[in-house]
Symmetry: C2
Subunit: 290 residues, 2 copies
């Protein structure tokens, strides 16, 4: 199928590579052009703009940093809407506010373009292995039309409801993941301070109630104080948790745990570490010690 | 082998049944005698006291509620130490303070009895399936002597260090599990309030970064507001998190997330719900709504 992919970052790159490996024709665009090389050398075509990507594609996928970037890619000059044919579908893997996803869907629908909000969980490793959990919002017919393509990327692609429901589910997901990563830092630090070799924690707890991908991936990094290569910046998590806090405030939902996590990520940012790997949260608890 | 098992509760019962099914001879004791029937009818012998269990057993296992119960079982009148032969080993699956585990080990060692502190994670389902993660502290020779028996109960039995290291690891485990359960409640409630069917969350997030046994087990119960049969009282988690807080205070470890979790479990207790299933924590966030 003729696919487009906009946003060739940490997630977009392995996702695009999987689509190419599955035999699809993929036209790509990225704000900084130098990131395109990794996918162009594997067979992707470079588009000159989001509009050009959309002109070449039946399904346009995108995975960008935040809602400002998503809005620009969709509706800016030479944006997707400047090139997309009526009847085409946009699948937005970005994590943005549910209200923005609903608004974007309404605007696109007026142009005859479908939007599936489809934020992902599972990180870079999940994108590489095609084992992401993808949570979708939008019309059922649109979700089903893109399912076979999305399943090259995901072990699970679940329609949670109408437009915005994918993003709302992602916020619930991030409430868990962002808080859990902070909690894992506490467990690692407590074990260290108790004289236990914390580098053995992920293996020792494997398969039990405390086990999770974040324990195996970020817990191991925290215990080893190994933060490279980056698997995702603290700033991205902070943005998601702030979005969750906004929705929670609107709906009157108490979030005592994840509110504390917001403060910790904001503290990381206040220490000038917003762009560092999320596992550096251990340093808030430990200082320079280990 | 001739084994003893003291404490035939939610965890001890399925653990004893697995040991019997593996062909071991098991002598059992429990404070309330009526709980013995379930294992006696599967072939366990009923001992009249912990001392009598110890007299019949090369390895005495125990899984009791807290450290007062553990101390009574070990050192009380007709306790394990009144019957155990020098050279025998006690494996304590209970979750108690690391300092108490170290103290018990020292007292037992003076009588020629070995102690392995071996708290478990994985809940009733893990005990039934033999898939517990068990974290051990004690002498390496003692841990290895009991390994083949313990492996009937566990998918993982990891020596983390000397006496107390198993308990210290369990506290790290509980910092994660206790906090995670509170965080899952927030995610379930946020999804509900956003109009997403939260009963689909565990399935939708399966395999992603937010996935865990607590999401699949307690998250599903929270979304369905189904708290029976009980899989463990909030009071047990509160005790473990208070133990973690005590160690953290001694060692100067900041625990912002799990301190918040302690307050939530204490709030449950203040609402008279200490003995209710831990998933009832969702009601703190939701009131009677759903």
């Amino acid at each position: 199928m003729n696919l487009g992919f906009i946003g060739i970052g940490l997630m977009g790159r392995p996702m695009t590579l999987r689509l190419l490996a599955a035999g699809h024709r993929v036209t790509v665009w990225n704000r900084s052009r130098e990131k395109l090389a990794a996918v162009v050398e594997k067979g992707a075509s470079s588009g000159g703009s989001p509009a050009e990507v959309a002109r070449e594609s039946e399904i346009v996928m995108m995975c960008v940093t935040d809602q400002r970037a998503a809005e620009e890619v969709l509706f800016g000059a030479d944006g997707v809407t400047a090139g997309a044919k009526p009847g085409s579908i946009v699948v937005d893997f970005s994590s943005i506010a549910p209200a923005s996803a609903r608004e974007f869907a309404t605007r696109l629908e007026a142009m005859g373009i479908g939007l599936v909000d489809a934020p992902v969980s599972g990180g870079v490793a999940g994108a590489e292995n095609g084992s992401l959990a993808i949570m979708a919002g939008g019309r059922e017919e649109h979700v089903e039309r893109v399912r076979s393509v999305v399943m090259h990327l995901a072990q699970r692609f679940t329609r949670m409801g109408d437009s915005g429901a994918g993003q709302a589910t992602k916020l619930a997901n991030q409430v868990i993941v962002g808080s859990l990563i902070a909690v894992i830092a506490e467990a690692v630090r407590l074990a260290e301070a108790s004289g236990v070799d914390a580098t053995r924690l992920p293996e020792a707890l494997k398969g039990g109630f405390a086990d999770s991908l974040p324990l195996q991936i970020f817990g191991a990094r925290m215990a080893a104080r190994r933060f490279e290569p980056s698997l995702g910046a603290a700033a991205i998590m902070l943005k998601d948790l702030e979005n969750a806090a906004t929705v929670a405030k609107e709906k009157g939902v108490p979030l005592p745990m994840s509110s504390t996590a917001v403060q910790l990520y904001r503290m990381l940012a206040a220490h000038g570490k917003a762009e560092q790997e999320i596992s550096t949260i251990i340093e808030l608890l430990a200082g320079g010690r280990k």
